[in-house]
Symmetry: C2
Subunit: 528 residues, 2 copies
């Protein structure tokens, strides 16, 4: 059947879904034996042995059926298929959307200008792997013949948040398993203190710096690249022994002699979806070795496989997307919190904040027509248990409803632990996430109103055995695919970001002193 790109509010099934507003009294549903039944029933297997449990979401069989019908009418599976088969899904920029190809051939070959794109991504992966292997083997060394011990990624936005979150997620795991080949650091902010602080913390002579910018024109990244180059030269080091580029083949960086090596990306993988490409591949292959990066991709590919399933109960990314849509467009909740009970995932919410809000924070549909419904929510989050001692107060007793997404693992990464009051730390961590779900859902009565928990606050949890390269990759792809499906449902183009342009233009005016009115006054206040 041909794909029809329709606004959410023109779908019959969405009108139907709206009749299910406030259908489930979550507090009641999650109490007693019925609650136990929900926990057992309302879960869907994810890739890599993980599980998506949505028992504590405001759904029942009726809502789920309505969501399934919506998924069909919105042709979610067909749209995903069109995407991985190379259709021009990014309508604004007239581009294909091919990040799934970086991990696996999901459908037909995608040939662009005579190039098989899967081959292209594989070639770049292999080039990054070969380079990393040579560094690790001591075949590539610095001016003095010494090996490199640190890799620094210089990028911003999509070239920073995803790779950084993944590195931090696996750094300790890699240490514990003997897979940490090099330390990785990240420079992103144009604030000169960011780069200066990182440079203060590394041995320049033994560091590799990757300048990551697709266009080769991202001002922050070029500036920080130059900042680093200056520092190398001041230290009498040869930049071509220390600087790498990840960029497109047509970028000025690709042709420059300044770089020891350049690995290529293309226009069909957007920044915030680029962790699977050379953007994540080079830095993660250097830090952990190419085999570990391949395991991350394998986890992501396994998620993508599931994402093709038509049945929403066999497609956790789609189900998650649909429940999120129900919360946003039917229940009317304006934000969503991502709460990983794993310190290693401490920057994963920041990555998802970008991935989600930059993709679906749009007011016009794919055809540039204004939509009459709300789209992407505000996304925020911090790791638990930390958040429990912070903003959870509002989540439990505030006046607004904030849907929650927990993530938890049965086992820690390092295995070092301590027993206090008959339980170890990992057990306490797990006990806390379990306790929170039930506290949010079931609440508690009290004579003192100040101690009343109304409950009925919806949450889901993704449960895994341990945070490993595979489960990290699976998590990454789960959220990428969830966001993609929500974009399909809202009928927006999730793959452009015109909203970032105006600020860039005005910043250039300010720097050129081509200002008037408020812009000039603010510039004066900041002494620019």
């Amino acid at each position: 059947m041909a794909i029809a790109w329709k606004n959410l509010d023109t779908l019959v099934s969405f009108e139907h879904l709206n009749t299910f507003k406030n259908k489930v009294n979550l507090r009641e549903a999650m109490s007693g034996e019925n609650g136990a039944k929900r926990v057992r029933r309302y879960q869907v297997p994810m890739a890599e042995g993980m599980v998506y449990n949505f028992a504590a979401k405001e759904v029942d069989d009726g809502v789920l059926a309505a969501l399934g019908i919506l998924a069909k009418e919105a042709q979610l599976v067909e749209k995903f298929e069109a995407l991985y088969n190379g259709d021009i899904i990014n309508t604004g920029e007239k581009r294909r959307v091919l990040h799934h190809l970086a991990r696996k051939q999901q459908g037909e070959d995608v040939i662009v200008d005579g190039v098989n794109k899967r081959d292209f991504y594989l070639t770049q992966q292999k080039r990054a792997a070969d380079f990393a292997n040579k560094v690790h083997a001591g075949e590539l060394v610095n001016e003095e013949g010494k090996t490199y011990n640190t890799v620094v990624q210089i990028g911003i936005g999509g070239s920073d948040l995803g790779p950084r979150a993944i590195y931090l997620a696996l750094e300790n795991w890699a240490k514990a398993t003997g897979n940490l080949k090099m330390d990785a650091k990240f420079i992103s902010n144009v604030d000169p203190d960011d780069a200066a602080a990182v440079l203060n913390a590394v041995d320049l002579s033994r560091s590799l710096f990757i300048v990551v910018t697709k266009s080769g024109t991202t001002l922050e990244t070029l500036t920080n690249g130059q900042f680093v180059k200056d520092a190398l030269e001041k230290a009498n080091l040869d930049p071509t022994k220390h600087m790498l580029a990840v960029t497109s083949e047509t970028s000025p960086l690709a042709k420059s002699d300044d770089y020891m090596e350049a690995i290529f990306m293309d226009d069909f993988i957007g920044g915030r979806f680029s962790s699977s490409s050379a953007v994540g591949g080079l830095v993660l292959s250097l830090a952990f070795g190419p085999e570990i990066f391949a395991r991350i991709l394998a986890g992501a590919a396994a998620t993508d496989d599931l994402t093709k399933n038509e049945d929403i109960l066999e497609n956790p990314a789609m189900l998650d997307a649909l429940i999120g849509l129900y919360e946003r467009n039917v229940q009317g909740y304006p934000s969503t919190a991502i709460l990983p009970y794993s310190q290693a995932l401490n920057r994963f919410p920041a990555h998802l904040q970008q991935c989600d809000m930059e993709s679906n924070g749009k007011s016009v549909n794919r055809f540039g027509e204004e939509v009459n419904y709300v789209t992407g929510p505000v996304i925020f989050g911090e790791p638990g248990t930390n958040g429990q001692h912070s903003f959870y107060q509002l989540l439990h007793q505030g006046t607004d409803m904030v849907p929650l997404q927990f993530i938890g693992f049965r086992n820690s990464q390092l295995g070092t632990d301590v027993v206090i009051e008959d339980s170890n730390s990992q057990q306490k961590l797990c006990a806390n996430v379990v306790a929170q779900i039930v506290a949010f859902a079931c609440g508690k009565d009290d004579e003192d109103n100040n101690k009343v928990f109304k409950g009925s606050r919806p949450s889901s949890i993704i449960i895994g055995d341990q945070l490993t390269p595979e489960s990290m990759g699976a998590l990454l792809a789960h959220y990428e695919n969830k966001i993609m499906f929500q974009g399909f449902l809202w009928n927006v183009n999730s793959f452009d970001q015109e909203g970032v342009q105006l600020g860039k233009i005005l910043a250039k005016k300010v720097l050129a002193h081509d200002t008037e009115g408020a812009l000039k006054e603010y510039s004066d206040l900041m002494n620019i």
Copy 2:
């Protein structure tokens, strides 16, 4: 005049304020010469030479006048006075609220059980300072006679976020100015990987560990304390040469022989407001020296002085609170972003997220009666320019309005910089924040709807010369006082946190295997 604690919706002036909904067309107001005028006029001096500029907020002289009347009717200044004079403002826990006393005697002496509380806080500050001075002078050394080079704070929530944010804010400044006496690290999460990772990164034999828990019963902190103690013993180190406590005089820790030193706090300074007390004082005095900590307190005290002013145009914290209330309760915006254009402030939004959401995320008033209006908003944020390449898309073009609070400094901390395209990084950073304010307010038309910026998105900016101990202290107190005023306006008790209790109780049940229903099922899923 006696203080009347009244709900917001019972105030005549709030009814009046509601007639000003959508009063200002911000896009129009900020365009052309009128916009320039607003930038010049709509600013208020803050402490330490900083400025609060609210030209790009949706206010005009009419709205400001209405806010001024509201401030009077709500008796904001009188309530602050009652607070610093020692009234029982924390009604839930029947406690005084005295964090301002840790920086300066603002009003009358506060005597509790014969103890002058200002003297008490000063005594503890002096004890922390003396201890730090002895460590720095090499009078206190480890088992082998070596000096200590690292201090690790073990705390969670209020014992972690504020001190951590301040340490990170000033770490590079301290390096550049020769004031970094010891590195500081932080362990908070009960996730054992958090503590293990920190311990892997320090030289145990030369580290001091501060266990920070007021009650001496915070499970996460005790667990991490024990984790560290085990590690010390395994390394054949004497815990009493490495472990310190910050706790109340009545806590089990205060009487324990396990600690080299114990500095005291009391019940009248809540966790999220405790950065000025020994909770922040000991770790920051060890890291930077007591003189630097005193300068932070001086900046905070200068803000507190301004906070006593009746005129809202001479009281930036009050004005900020009132504008926030207008955005939340009149305009109906559900969240607020804090966007510091300073990498050093990268964890300041997380601190404010706690301080704000835990204080004012309440549904009942000071008397335990449910309120009929929304209270604390969701708070989130990341440093610029990073956020520009991430979630700003939604802020510019999403379907929801998110009020913004920028923070910017004219000068960097380290002074190391690089010139690209005729400007240095700090100029680019400043140009970007200026550009964003105007882009959000004024927007841009375009034939292509996808490139349209509707503008009228409100923001304010706090501008300072440089992020120093004084300006850091002033910023901290600004937000603390803003949050306090908003609590007064909403008539909630901003100083308790009953919403964190239920989760603790249920977590204990899980660990004791005293579970049934959903709680048992989830526990099984997590293998607890």
